[in-house]
Structure formats: C-alpha cells, structure tokens
Amino acid sequence: MNLGKDFDDFVRCSSPRLLRTSYLLASDRGHAEDLLQEALVRTARHWRTARSAPEAYTRRIIVNLATDRWRARQRRPPEVPFGEDAEVLDSRVSPDAGIGPDERQLIIGALRQLPYQQRAVAVLRYWDGASVAETAALLGISEGTVKSYAARAIARLRELLPDRIEAPPC
C-alpha cells in the first residue's frame, strides 16, 4: 500500500512521544530509536488498518517489541551500560533545567532496576497516561495485575529514590 501525506504527518507529530515511551521501556537511546523505527515500518505495512488510530497502534507494537527484546535478553549475555545515553542527553538538556545529571541518572537507573513488567506498567500508566484498562489491554494482562505492578513499581521507586521523593514539610 502506498503511503500518503497522512502517514508523514503522523510520523512527524507522534514520533517524539513514541520515542519517549520507547526510551523509558528500553532504557537505552539506541534501542529506543530502533524500536520506534521498526514499529513505524510495521505500522506503514498495515496503514490501512492503523490509520484510524495510528498512535495507539504503533504504541502497541512498541510495547510488544520491547517485551520481545526483554525476553530475548534473558537468553543472552548481560549487556553492560555504555554510558552513552547520559552523555548524549546531558548535552541536550538546558543548564537551567534545575536537575543535575547525577539525579537524572539516578532516576533512569531506578527505572532500569525495576523488573520489566513493573517498568512497562509504570511507564504506560504514569508517563503515557494510559488508564488501568488501557495498560492491561496493551500488555495483555489483567487490570488487577496492572494495579499490583504499579503499586510495586511505585514502592520500589520510593525505596530507590528516598532523597528525591519525600513528604513535603508540614
């Protein structure tokens, strides 16, 4: 099927958001870009079906690809973080952002430490704003499991980020 201007518009408008989702799921900028590109190619292949809700369609593919990658990595030697992401991102964040690179890495590191399912739920629920039902549908799990994973993820983030996440003074 030939792709029209609507596909181009969709890619231009949605790819930054979809890349953020990919990045939070993959915790690696290079992999995130690969996930996004692969998902867009698959969306293009089924554009006739996807064009009614292309972003949801692509997000679903990204989640599936991220899950596939996570499963494949279980069977491979562990990857050692390259440190590239921190350098690239540090150079792009404005100096007056108010958050030091150490703290950003702390949060990224905390996300990386979450088990994949918990991270996926946290990303979809709290960064993408998906509802419990939408998250459950995207991940193919029950709504109760979504709530359970979300609670565990938040509890784990609370443990990993005790200094940043604390109750405001009374």
Partner: protein, 217 residues
C-alpha cells in the same frame, strides 16, 4: 508520606526535562519510507518466486498438480542422492570478522556467482553487529546491535542496508557473522565489502561475537 500518584508525579517531573530533549533522529521518516518500499518490492518478488517454485515443484514431480506430496524418490536413485546428507555442504561454527569502516548508510557487498547463490538461499543467516563509539576506560560494549541485514539483489551485487543513520551515531566498526555459513564464505564476504569504494579492513575478533570487547575501542 506521599501517595503513589504523588511519587509517580515527582518521578515524572524529574525526568520531564530529560525526556523533552529526546528527539527522533533526523531522517527517521525517510528511513521508514525506504524500508517500507524495499519490503514491498521484496514481498512482490517473493510472491513471484513462490509461484515459480510451485510450478517447478510440479514439473519436478515433488508435488502433484492438486498440491499433495508425490511419492518420495527412493534415496538410491540419482534424484534422491542429490538430497542425501552426504551431498550437503558442511558448515562450521561461525566466526566474527570486524571490518573497520568509514560509517555510512549503505554498505555494498560484491560476491561472486557461487556465493551469490549461497546468499540467495540463506538470506536470513547473515547478521550484522555494529559496534563503536568511544568506549569509556574499562567499559565493555556487549553487542546490542545485532540485527538481520537487508539483502537486495542489484544486478549481481548485494547491498546490506543498515536501517538507521550509522554516521549520526559515530559507529565505526561492523562485525558480520553468518550462522550456517562456512568460515571461508564469511571471509570472502568480509573481503568483498567496500565502504565508499574502500576495501574493508579484516580483523579477527574473539567468539562469541555477541559478547566481545569492541575490537576498535
């Protein structure tokens, strides 16, 4: 004690600036469109090839015109011997060869007729492992870029299409591996790779190729 929602909001706020700086790579749309167009061409070619194979299979008596399998040829006949294990090419465990490259989007591989046939028969067996970028002291880059290459037959040449802008990322080495291909075949493929008209630089890397120090780092 913050509520769960407040914890999530705090973490999201802390990352919001970082995520705002995350932009898709330049050329993403062109890459997607390019891959889509190539995939369409490949699918069309595959459907044609499938039809040809079907006709040939009927002609050769492997299947009947109705689609069912014809009785097998006894292995002691000449037709059966061609498919016996002794007639198959023996392959060895794959090795990896790093080719120092000047980064670019496409790599052209020239192969002779015999290897071309081998490629055509096993296109999915060739994988690429890109490595590179400056390694921090003591760091190990474990292969995370392994992916199937896209093989395009272009009048006697095969092009390995790298579906992302390599140069933008500063990757500077390329490891090819071919599960199922013989070592000699791999060597010939590696020797045939040219980047911008320059021959590749061959260098052995330790196995396994998916878990190795970057040979160029």
């Amino acid at each position: 004690m913050l509520t769960d929602t407040e914890v999530a909001d705090t973490a999201r706020d802390l990352l919001s600036d970082e995520l705002a700086g995350l932009t898709p790579p330049a050329g993403l749309l062109a890459d997607v469109r390019g891959r889509h167009a190539r995939a369409q061409r490949t699918r069309r070619a595959a459907s044609t090839a499938l039809a040809t194979v079907a006709v040939a299979a009927v002609t050769a008596g492997i299947v009947t015109a109705a689609g069912s399998l014809a009785p097998r040829t006894p292995p002691n006949t000449s037709a059966g011997a061609a498919h016996s294990p002794a007639a198959r090419t023996e392959t060895i465990v794959m090795d990896g060869y790093a080719i120092r490259v000047r980064t670019g989007l496409q790599v052209t591989v020239r192969v002779d007729g015999r290897l071309t046939a081998s490629f055509a028969a096993h296109p999915v067996r060739l994988a690429l492992l890109l490595q590179g970028g400056p390694l921090p002291a003591g760091a190990v880059r474990v292969g995370s870029w392994q992916r199937p290459a896209y093989l395009l037959n272009d009048a006697g040449q095969f092009r390995l299409y790298l579906p992302f802008p390599v140069a933008d990322r500063g990757y500077h080495s390329l490891v090819i591996s071919g599960a199922g291909l013989s070592k000699a075949e791999l060597l010939r493929i590696a020797a045939a790779i040219t980047i911008d008209g320059q021959p590749g630089f061959l260098k052995s890397v330790p196995r396994p190729v998916t878990a190795t120090h970057c040979p160029c780092g």
